[in-house]
């Protein structure tokens, strides 16, 4: 790791003040937060922030940080974000989903894809209408990744999904005008 602990601590401190610490006053409650009912087959879509929802849909990408360590299981954030995408797929009759492989093994990646497919199917979405690939959130024009056609190759009979509008490197959209947590 090249960065120094001091600079990391500085950065962490700055973000903590405006992030975690600021959240303290507004987010705490006397009672414990109820455990969300997050199960493999019962994903709850509870993201209400319209800017975040829009960005998730625009990016339509699951990354390594959405998974619990080096496992095939989605973590809480992964389940939340996937739930937004599933809601979107239901409304649109399908769409694109990118699952980034990163540096994990091929077998683990395949297992993750399978797990996501199971979740999508369990939510009542027609898998044939969802194209799963390993591409950057910028979408078309950013080829170079191995495309994983993990779903049925019957998309030719399906309406073409909307072209991704791109929230990639040029940050075209999806982030809204809200400031972040820093």
């Amino acid at each position: 790791m090249k960065f120094t602990l001091f600079s990391a601590a500085l950065l962490a401190g700055a973000l903590a003040i405006l992030g975690g610490l600021a959240g303290c006053a507004s987010s705490h409650s006397q009672a414990a937060v109820p455990e969300p009912q997050l199960t493999d087959m019962g994903i709850v879509d509870s993201i209400n922030d319209s800017g975040i929802r829009a960005a998730i849909i625009t990016q339509h990408t699951l990354y390594g940080y959405h998974f619990a360590g080096d496992s095939r299981e989605l973590n809480e954030l992964g389940q939340r974000d996937l739930a937004v995408l599933i809601s979107h797929f239901k409304g649109q009759g399908g769409g694109d989903l990118s699952i980034r492989r990163g540096e994990i093994s091929e077998s683990l990646y395949a297992s993750r894809v399978e797990k996501i497919k199971e979740a999508i199917k369990a939510a009542g979405v027609d898998l044939a209408a969802v194209r799963i690939a390993d591409v950057s959130p910028g979408g078309a024009g950013m080829a170079g990744d191995d495309v994983v056609r993990a779903v049925k190759q019957s998309t030719s009979n399906q309406p073409a999904p909307a072209a991704p509008s791109g929230a990639g490197d040029k940050g075209a959209s999806g982030s809204g005008s809200k400031g972040g947590g820093q």
């Binding site: 990391a8 950065l11 903590a16 303290c24 705490h28 998730i56 940080y65 973590n75 982030s175 947590g181």
Partner: protein, 211 residues
Amino acid sequence: MKQVWLWTMLMLMAAGGCASTPAAPQGHLTAGDEEFAAGAKRPPTAKTLYALAQILATQGRDAEAEPALNRAIAIDAGFMPAYCALAELHMRQRRIDKAMQVIQAGLKKSPVEHVLINDLGMCQLINGNTEASAAQFARAAGLAPDDHAYRANLAMALGMLGRYDEALTLYLQIMTPSDAHYNLAVLCETRHDYVRAGGEFDIAKELSKPK
């Protein structure tokens, strides 16, 4: 000694309240007066002590805020804001291990308290355990998915790990593209990745230009 001071302050606050209340004619106490009189005899609640500690902390008087928070937890072990404030007090004082102890104690009472989970991530980050901190931030963000701060903290941790694309994606969810690239540039700089940092600063600058 500190506790004596705190109790004195509480008494003064209560006394001040009494003094400012116009004296009602004897035998004509209102319902509010009776409630107030009853309240003055009660010991401070965890919430009161927490509020007092917050005031002291904003005045930079952490040494006096600390016993108030400890007392708040002793009175009500399920009062999560006190754990959070105490952990953050220790963090301010660079007592990271103590902060983590407080956080762990709080999480035993409320395992899904996202503020504490986030703070645990902060402690781990400061201790150099960036990978573990990312997991905590992701958990906090999953428990409170609308909270921008947790996604930002996760982005920061991922950026520090060199996972730039993931960091940028998260930043783009919660801020303008220009700000997202700027933040990523700062993280790249922190990792001494000056080439990428320069590129990100350029993108941020370009995106910030009025169109």
